[in-house]
Amino acid sequence: MILELFLLLAAALFAVGLFGALSQQSIVMIMMGLELMINAIIVAAAAFWFYTSADRPDGQVLVLVAITAMAVEMAMGFAVTTAIFRSRDVDVVDSAGDLKDAP
């Protein structure tokens, strides 16, 4: 196997996640898209570790950081969902359009 196969898998996962994050209206579905994108980072970092610097642990540490980012994203995403649902009964991003920057 070669590095390019792993990176192609990562690119495909990243593109699918990007589509979800851009197109979905529900906040939880957007989080799913973000998680797919971070998962692509995990695959790419693991492949880079194995094929370019297997004798150094740096790539593995990067994978660990990406896994942590995923956990943090999930916890904070659900906390924000709970907060905005509790205060305004909002569960889709289009209903929270007033939170965006003024043009």
Binding site: M1, E4, L8, A11, A15, F19, W49, D55, M70, T82
Partner: protein, 187 residues
Amino acid sequence: MAELVVFAICAASAVASGIAVFVVDSMARATFALLASFVFTAVPILLLGLSYLGVLVVLMMVMEMMIMVIFMVMYMMNPAGLMPMTMVHNKAGALAISVGTFVALAAGVLLVPWPTSTAAPPADPTLALGEAIMGEKMLVMMLVGMVLFATMVASIVLATHRGRYARYGDDLRRKHPDDPIRGGVGR
């Protein structure tokens, strides 16, 4: 050769179940499709010899998706997918951007001359990782610990119904907290 076949099957299944997340009608089904995608992507990580990180991804994702199903049922109007519905905006634009991103990334993957290394992986990559995060990469581990602690505090603060500002006023000057039911004895 066997590894390549396993990789191909798992990679195709991971991408297919990733697409299924945004295609199926039911929120619960979408969550389990995402779980399948994570498990399928953990297999290539295991193939690289990263047994600890691969198993960590599988275990974490199984737990995370179980929690996510509960949130799905709580917040989604159609958790069981009993009637078809779409909750998307600007689908064509999102599809164009993501296809363009994939094409650009794939072109980069195939065109860039990636460095090659003859360095053999350590006999026990988990041992190497453990020594790194307890040794020269300890700053990373300390920062990760701080971030996780801050996340716990921040998510509880965000999810709490009534905070101290609701009880003691915006400038925290109220003498007695404004609670629906007074605490203590003698109510």
